[in-house]
Symmetry: C2
Subunit: 128 residues, 2 copies
Amino acid sequence: MNIGDVSKRAGLPAKTIRYYEDIGLITPARDTNGYRSFCDSDVHKLTFLGRARTLGFTIENCRDLLALWDNQDRASADVRAIAQQHLAQIESKIADLQDIRHTLTHLVHECAGDDRPDCPILQRLEEL
Amino acid sequence: MNIGDVSKRAGLPAKTIRYYEDIGLITPARDTNGYRSFCDSDVHKLTFLGRARTLGFTIENCRDLLALWDNQDRASADVRAIAQQHLAQIESKIADLQDIRHTLTHLVHECAGDDRPDCPILQRLEEL
DNA sequence: CTTGACCCTCCAGTGACTGGAAGTCCTATC
DNA sequence: GATAGGACTTCCAGTCACTGGAGGGTCAAG
């Protein structure tokens, strides 16, 4: 299977797939003409990667998850640890953004938003 | 005032301050020895920038906000528009992350997290 | 006169791609 | 057989907002 088909099947841009090969996440075979020749397992891995990335796992997380996925002797605790740590990061990021949202909402509400120059947003950015 | 003092006062790393000069956000004077010589207005601007960046405004937003801040004839509506647009982006990012959190929480709860290989997290990343 | 803290510039790297140039290969049509 | 187009290849550069480090100049204290 060529990269274009795989791209459609896995839902990843061809560029991204080449990049994943570059950094060693996949190692597709090559045809005599130099074209990458993907097998089902490659497509499977790429789909897996796409899902994991959608959930915000870093590439290094993905590398670890793929290794565990490949390893039949894995302990599910190892997978869970990665997911749990990632979850904690997501939660802290949400909290940060919620703080920011709070402040911004406040500022936007306070500002008249007309053609006069007086603006509490700018004032608060000075004083905050 | 030298960059070290400004760094403390504005709460920004010296590296960042040099970078902000590089990209034209500030233009501090120079002493005869080549050292940057910051005036109060520079420090004021840098503090403003620090605040805006903390709230997640992009550098280009900051550039616009600084210009409005400098411009006594500004309309507060222009400032508000920038803040409002940014707020919308923050809110959409929060929503995305909350979706991810939802899924991840689910997965983590389902996984036994013991020394057996069976792992619903990996399964779901295949199927999802 | 030396030590150590501070300052300077310039280059490279981060993460995870993405865009584009320049060239090869395959397939279909005339 | 020529040609047009699309798909594929590699390689280089750019994104965003810094950050780290090398290699060197400057300054104040002892």
